[in-house]
Symmetry: C5
Subunit: 348 residues, 5 copies
């Protein structure tokens, strides 16, 4: 709910961090590679990192933490990144988007992960000539681990291709992580569905509502991705080579598939609300019916007992030796015929 | 629910099979034909199959089973199919799509069939110069039987036309099989509808929910077909000759008709939920009304009986010889007038 | 529900009739006219009909019955109609569409009429140079009667204009017949609405559901008409002269109006479901309230009667001469004050 | 509901009036003006009117009543208006639309006004070189009064501008009158909303339904206006001068605002249905709760009274001198603790 | 609700103020600046202000109050603003829009702020060569305070750039203020959500409805902003320099984010209605169940007590010394077994 903070009236291009507070130092990881060589090193200082940059290799600079605004600004100055881009990079409430500048293109995305609850994290990927700079918040980071491994081991085609392919791979990793989240949600939906029909409780309903909110959350992160990918595909930047186009088409398909699944789950969840309400009402009706039937059965016979409890002087039945036994029989007959009637009408 | 598995972080173009486990050998069926000649043979080995290929005939290679990833990769290498396409062919959670490559076009589709429940199967049709390669999962396969028969017997125009017509015929067969499924669902809807009004039970509701899920399932398979056909029609590939265009227009119409029907059924099903709820509530109301009326009728007369059960010394009515009979008459009068009142207000 | 039959796997262009069985002979009606002359004749044989054709007049061949597939095929061969078109003409589950061929254009439509229930009938209008061929199922036919009369009597401009105007007139007649159906449905909605508020019963609900299904039925027939007309207007065929364009614009407006009305009725009907549910629940609440109030009034006084029915030795009230009368007064006071309280809170 | 009448099968271009019957004579009002001069005169005959026409002034001919079909046809012939346009002018069930002919453009609109209920009236504005002809049904007419006054008094720029500005002014007057209607509906919504929460009755619900129907009615009239204005703006007719464009943009904005408001009201109204249902159910629940609590409180104590009403020989409590008073205390204690319990759980 | 007032039939371009009545004088604030210099002065008279205008500085004239129509008209004449624009500036029910004139462009917007309830205020920003004129209603004004401060202190790039950047900054300030409002609403939604589940009352529902109306209000103000920004971006005016384009893209992103949030909140709110209804019904069901169970438990035993209260001569049980104690045991056994049964079925 709180992803709305914005600096009302602050001059645009002001780089202000609005995420949670972090004390950690920001780690800068530099990976340089070509088909034959890989160099990987961590830094806690920008200048040191700059000294290690090798112009002939593909460079990936990953910045782990966006809460040190001055560092981000220095990176911006170093690589000639527009202040508005820097502002977006540190603004954790940013919507996913793709932007095209003269000397670079940038994709901002939301990674989703489960902590105690569903949380999102801001990821920005800046693609420049021969270099990718990625920015992440301080928590996560495992979305890119597989790619680091691929570079280290030279699996797949990543080492043979340029920085544009690396940028694609990072974006693809984000979309892939949506699949993991959706699979978990899918499992929870299936569990919940069984609960719903067998034993609907107030907790089931709260869980249903909670899952609906999760879907709204996921949807808000996922929907703008389609636009991002579309803009990326349509971009006329020369930083992305035609040979990478086919891979963009692939990530486009994945995004559409994610959105499809999100919409399907939303459909399922709103159908489940109906089932919940219907199940609760069925259960309640069942209870009320049984209780009311019990009452209804005893009301006429209690009346009869009341009649013969009256103190009239002249009540011939009371004198009869068979009176008591006949009244019992009559009362049992009434109870019996009511039961048969209810059973016949399938109320029991 | 489980059609989401994806290989998070795995390099794109990695051909990994994620469907159910199969031990069966993969059967490769080669059908070659022209207007005068038909040759048909089954193989369990790619090289053997390659030796039988006759360059001057139209060739249809059908691969029955996509779980042997290495075979798929060898086919890919043999016919120069892009790794991303191969990845999609074996990825059973793929969405229907059409893609245009330099030397081939590929259509991925979902065939739907009833097993114990509704299931979908991945079908891919690769159209190359003079050749169609189709890939299916191991279960099904009867969707294409009719086409095989048409080729064998030379019925229709299939033998007179090229590989593009064959590819069209395969896609058309998939769309046609949707009609069969929808007809079955339509029959089930009609049955359910009668149940709903005459005797709504908890089971009816569960069935309704189940059918809604089936429709979501079918819808998810069918919707992307429209896009597939659109892209196919708009494709500028030279593999599809202008003479086939009119047939594509026909399969386009069929797809639209399928989608229309799916939407109509969804409308019907959501209307039926309303009817179910209304019927259940009507039934329950009926019960509660009758039960409450019984109680209500006896409450006043039980009170009267209670009054004359009191033990006051001085109660003149009790002494009267007619007291008892008059009280009975009064009580019957009360019951009678309540019944008349309820009938008059149409509560009974 | 059963308008889905399709020939799974049958070769496209196979002319198979899937409608209901008919034994009737197919009647072919030939009307030829120009501004000064009209010739009209019925045939039961194609060749005979062909002998009567006069090349200088505008020709309208109406085929009444599409169940004799061989006749349709012979007509197709005679006038050079594509097999796919013939297949669509006899396929009674066809969706409305317009298609453009080299030597002709064809419009397939659904006429709707009331039999015991709402039914649709397949109509196809083929426009060629100087000739219109129309195909209908065997039942109906009165949609075109007015046009036949117009030709016979020379009313309106139909005799002065060419075959394209005739084709337009036939399509316009189909759209016009939708207005008639919608008017009838509108009347039924109005009747139902009164019922809903004054006396909602289970039957009202079934009728509501039935009308909703009718609207789905009508909608399915009417919606594709818009597309048909759009395609017709945008068609670049030379068979339709510019002077007819203005009439197409007119039938386009009518179609939009029909669709508007259909959507309005759908809105009305779904609002009526809410009213029904609310009325039923109001009625039920009213009943339960009255019944419960009766019970509630007697429960306290029955308790008091119970108290003085106890058999304790020492109960001073019982000895008092005024005891009985005072208890009655107390009980009446309780009943009275409860009634006043309920009335005050507007529960009665 | 009855705005559907159409002449099934009648030849297009047949000018048939389908509105309500009127006996009144049709009044033709001719207003001619330029910047310095205004002439205004009423006629009941066309020829007379034609004699008064002054070629150098801007002419506005207003026809008050469209039920005299022959007059409309004569006007059509006089000014060379296409029969299809005439047909639309007298067809009171016409949808709003704009049409572009060689020598004129025509806008058909619906004016809405409150009679006993909401009613619509057909208005048509034909713009020709130097002349506007407007047609209205016989009832209304006050929508144009303000414009007549503006012409008479020379307020605003109307006298300085041509016939196209006059046509714009007439259309703008129609859109303006929608605002008036919407304001009234808005007031009614606000009144209804208070009712809904404070005292929901069956009548409130009927009123709600009635207002929903009114909104459907207004919506049906207003929605096509957007298209009308769009077509008007995009029209390439030379009858509308570029200097008028800015005014068309203005009326376009007004139309969008009207549609916005209509949609907002629809949102409000459907939210109100929920509130109504919830309020009714809250009220009912409150009643049932109180009634049931009364019953529940007396049931246990009535049981106790029943116990000591039993006639067993050996019942020690009955003999005790304190028995009666103790039973009373026990019963009061039960009633008291139930009341405390209910209050504690906030059921009272 | 009352933002609909329009002057039916009044000539367009008539500048009429329809907002609330104000007696205050209208304050005109002139701020002139370039990179090195800032001049700021308040006036209550236009001529005085005109005398202070310095042609070589960027000029921002802010008019605080639009209720003095004659002043607005004089400003219009002074700066050559079209009467239709002036009409829109003072029309407080105007929808947000952007318009492009020869010598200026104008953006009309709604600022939203919390007074006792949510209120909107009309803001218009006219951009001319080297000058921005902004018009606001008399209440607010703090939306622009931050920008005034930025100009005064020279923070950000505002002093270095031209009038187009100033216009952008004003529009951005309006969009930013939406974030503040949405954040407040978000907090209220979260509070309400806790209430809903823990303790749903009639007040919660009214609050929910109230918030829904607030969202409709916000939505109505925010949606047209997207269009405004789109038109602004697409505008071909030379008043906006290419260097400002990137900032427009930024405000475009913010607008989309605002709309996203609005839609998310709407989703949440309609989900909350469901929860409310479900919670209320759960609570009610709980009550009714407990009450009915109490009644049901005592009904059979009361019947038994009634039986032994009968006055038959011959009732052997009554004579037995153990009779009374046995009946008590039987009655307790019945109560006990009913309680066990209810517990077992989880009704308690």
């Amino acid at each position: 709910m709180h992803d709305l903070q914005n600096k009302v009236g602050a001059p645009p291009g002001t780089v202000i961090y609005y995420g949670e507070d972090h004390k950690e130092k920001v780690k800068i990881t530099l990976i340089e590679y070509n088909e034959t060589e890989v160099v990987e090193k961590d830094f806690y200082d920008l200048d040191e990192c700059m000294n290690h940059i090798n112009p002939i290799l593909v460079k990936w600079i990953n910045v782990d933490g966006i809460h040190k605004v001055d560092l981000i600004e220095r990176i911006g100055k170093q690589f000639n990144i527009h202040p508005l881009t820097l502002e977006d990079i540190v603004n954790t409430s940013q919507r996913a988007k793709f932007e095209d500048f003269d000397n670079y293109v940038v994709s901002m995305m939301k990674m989703i992960y489960y902590d105690t609850e569903l949380r999102s994290e801001q990821l920005s990927v800046v693609l420049m000539e021969g270099m990718v700079i990625s920015f992440q918040e301080v928590h996560g980071g495992d979305a890119f681990d597989m790619i680091r491994n691929r570079i280290r081991t030279g699996k797949g085609r990543i080492r043979k291709m340029g920085a544009d392919y690396l940028a694609y791979a990072l974006i693809d990793a984000v979309v892939d992580c949506y699949f993991g989240i959706l699979e978990k949600i899918g499992d929870k939906i299936e569990l919940l569905e069984d609960d719903l029909i067998s034993n609907p409780t107030k907790e089931t309903m709260q869980q249903l509502h909670f899952m609906k909110r999760e879907m709204i959350f996921v949807r808000k992160a996922v929907w703008p991705m389609r636009e991002l990918i579309n803009n990326l595909e349509r971009s006329e930047t020369e930083l992305i080579k035609p040979s990478t186009d086919i891979y963009l088409r692939d990530v486009h398909d994945h995004t559409v598939r994610v959105i499809d699944t999100v919409e399907t789950y939303r459909d399922l969840l709103s159908g489940m609300m109906d089932i919940y309400l219907s199940s609760v009402s069925n259960k309640m009706n069942e209870i009320m019916k049984v209780l009311t039937i019990i009452t209804t059965i005893f009301v006429p016979v209690t009346f009869i007992a009341g009649v013969y409890g009256m103190n009239f002087k002249y009540m011939p039945e009371l004198e009869s030796a068979w009176g008591y036994i006949i009244v019992w029989l009559v009362m049992l007959a009434i109870i019996g015929s009511l039961l048969i009637y209810f059973r016949k009408r399938k109320w029991l």
